[in-house]
């Protein structure tokens, strides 16, 4: 147990997608826990299962996807345990958007072009009974938008989504998800669609907000820079599995998994033209026919005997630093 007071605990989660081309084994035995009040990051490349994992937390997986197996416990307050997998659809909807709120990558997809920003905010509040009616909600919307640092919130309440820039839309979406004072905010690449300067604004604001509201943040990103600036604990995902988990400083100082190391070296960082960047050979595997054993082994420069046969377990090497690699496991032979 890493956390004394976890907010969410996931054990051995499996998610499959049943498509024509085959069964996509998108999430393959993922276990992690998020401590109350921290910023937990999931990093990894496209298709490694970050979004699916985050959606699975509130069972937001649509057909052809299915949660095959796994336990998910949510602790809205210390000591109060809710088994997400056992809730009815109705009950889970009550949690979604109230205790656990989402921000997605593309803000326009979360906003209906026919309704004003104020209506959107009011609707989420009214659904969860925070306000009695939409009307009352619209009156309170400006307050909520101010919290999200929307410039000039009183007039934005009456604006339609298309009248706002991308950054402002994302702020409106953040406002919506904050309207009910969630305990856990899941931000799925909230700034990928935005400019760096706007990204910097939004990230600063999320940081401030966390301190003020005692929010727990699950931040999903593929940007190592954001990880370094925002996170407390980082989980590195590769092809549907968590390969390494560590506090952020520890991870950057002492990356253990060959994939994490490769990832760190592949990011250009203050390097000029005369340097050569290291790259990870090969490409991300197809999750319909994932490589047997360790899913990273075909691209791994250190692979040896058990790698292509047995899956390495995620074990704690140093305090709070877990890695799934045979280089570090006892049965592996070496080390």
């Amino acid at each position: 147990m890493r956390c004394k007071d976890p907010i969410i605990v996931v054990k051995d989660l499996y998610v499959n997608f049943y498509t024509y081309a085959g069964v996509v084994k998108a999430i393959n035995g993922v276990s992690f826990e998020i401590c109350r009040g921290e910023t937990y990051c999931l990093v990894g490349e496209t298709g490694c299962g970050k979004s699916v994992t985050s959606r699975a937390l509130t069972r937001l997986i649509k057909s052809p996807g299915r949660i095959e197996k796994g336990e998910i416990y949510f602790y809205p307050e210390p000591g109060k345990k809710i088994d997400i997998m056992k809730l009815s659809d109705e009950e889970i909807r009550k949690i979604r958007g109230y205790d656990i709120a989402y921000i997605f990558q593309d803000p326009s997809a979360s906003l209906d072009p026919l309704y004003t920003i104020g209506y959107h905010v009011a609707e989420t509040m009214a659904f969860h009974g925070v306000v009695q009616s939409i009307k009352e909600g619209i009156k309170k919307a400006a307050q909520v938008l101010r919290l999200a640092k929307m410039p000039d919130p009183e007039s934005r309440v009456r604006a339609f989504p298309h009248e706002l820039s991308g950054g402002m839309k994302q702020r409106a979406v953040i406002g919506m998800s904050l309207a009910n004072r969630p305990k856990l905010l899941i931000a799925d690449e909230p700034t990928t669609a935005l400019d760096v300067t706007i990204q910097a604004q939004i990230m600063n604001f999320l940081k401030e907000l966390k301190e003020k509201e005692n929010l727990t943040l699950l931040l999903i990103t593929h940007n190592m820079g954001l990880v370094a600036e925002m996170c407390d604990t980082v989980a590195v995902m590769y092809a549907g599995e968590i390969v390494e988990e560590a506090p952020v400083e520890e991870l950057f100082k002492n990356p253990l998994h060959p994939y994490t190391r490769g990832l760190m070296r592949a990011v250009p960082k203050h390097v000029g033209k005369n340097v050569t960047l290291e790259s990870i050979p090969g490409t991300v595997p197809n999750l319909i026919f994932p490589p047997p054993g360790c899913r990273f082994h075909p691209r791994c420069p250190y692979r040896f005997d058990p790698c292509d046969k047995k899956r390495p377990p995620l074990i704690e090497i140093e305090k709070n630093h877990k890695v799934a690699c045979w280089l570090y496991a006892k049965e592996g032979g070496k080390r």
């Binding site: 049943y18 024509y20 081309a21 393959n28 052809p64 047997p292 047995k310 899956r311 377990p313």
Partner: protein, 395 residues
Amino acid sequence: MATKEAEEVYEKKVLDRVSDAFVDALANLFDKIRPGWKVRNQARVDEWKLMFYAFNRSPIGIAGAVLVAIFIIIAIIGPWIAPFSYGTSLALCNQTAYLAHPGTVVKIPKGCEALGVKPGTYRLILGGDSFGRDLFSRILYGARTSFVVMILVLLVGPWIGVALGLISGYYGGAVDETIMRITDMFLVFPGLILAIAFSAVLPSRISIFLKDHPWVGSFFLHLFALHPTERGALASLVSVIIALWIVWWPGYARLVRGMVLSEKENTYVEAARALGVSTTSILFRHILPNILGPILVYLSLDSGGVILTEAGLSFLGVGAVPPIADWGRIIYDGSQYFPSAWWLVFFPGLAILLTVLGFNLLGDTLRDILDPRTRRSIEFRLKKKPKTKEEGEEK
């Protein structure tokens, strides 16, 4: 904990094996014609198989395909399997055939050979009409009429629209403006009215043309499976076809123009331009192949539309003239005896309904299947390969 996945395979139904065999046979044929084709197009062959799998999993699509297949088969062999010719008035020999109920048995005495009927007893399964003609035979012949009209209309009309739409969409500017205004002019008139107008004006010119070129007439007579005596009635049938060409292109011009406009925005079109590829190559090698899928879907949906319109025209009295068998015409003639002789309206109506329904169901399914994105999202049922012992233990 090592998780070893049990190998899963997709359940292949009988239909899948049939379609696989069909696609493979086709591929082998292409390979014979152009050696090396199969190697170069393996990916395409796989895609075709996939399309069939998706199709095989759509009961609606299969129902549509069955209906359409029945229609086409009847249209082709109908005139041969029909017990009587479309114009044979059995009532001349035996009065019982006059407005005979479905299932009536009619005895043909000797001396009626002139009508082309051998003596004997015949059962009119769908009944007879006001001339004592066998409704069943007339519906079989009617299928041929509808089918030929449909094919001839769809082979020309829509493609005029496609060509204009391609030009209009790609070049834009004044060209686009001109073509679209003309299209609008055609579109503001309801298609049926326009078709009536044209089918009323055209026959006289066409009959002159047919007189000057008798071989054209003979060709059409064979196509429609008509007696040489009906040569005079051809003009009206041909004019229906031409009228339908005229009303059928504007919709396609609009549709294709829209698709070209969105396709043109794709980076690969700009990439081709940056490489110095000529405009015609871009139009025919990039844009057309990419919009062909939706066009095919519309053609399938429109097949029913053409049959319906043609029947409507005949029903309104333009188009097929008596005694040519045509579904619309049969309903029109029979409606005077409705409701006592209900079968004269009911059976041809049913034939139209089922055929149009078939094409629509087929078209709807094709829409899903020809779009690579929806095709891939279809959920497939798995069949677990029988577990080996070792795997069973691990579980």
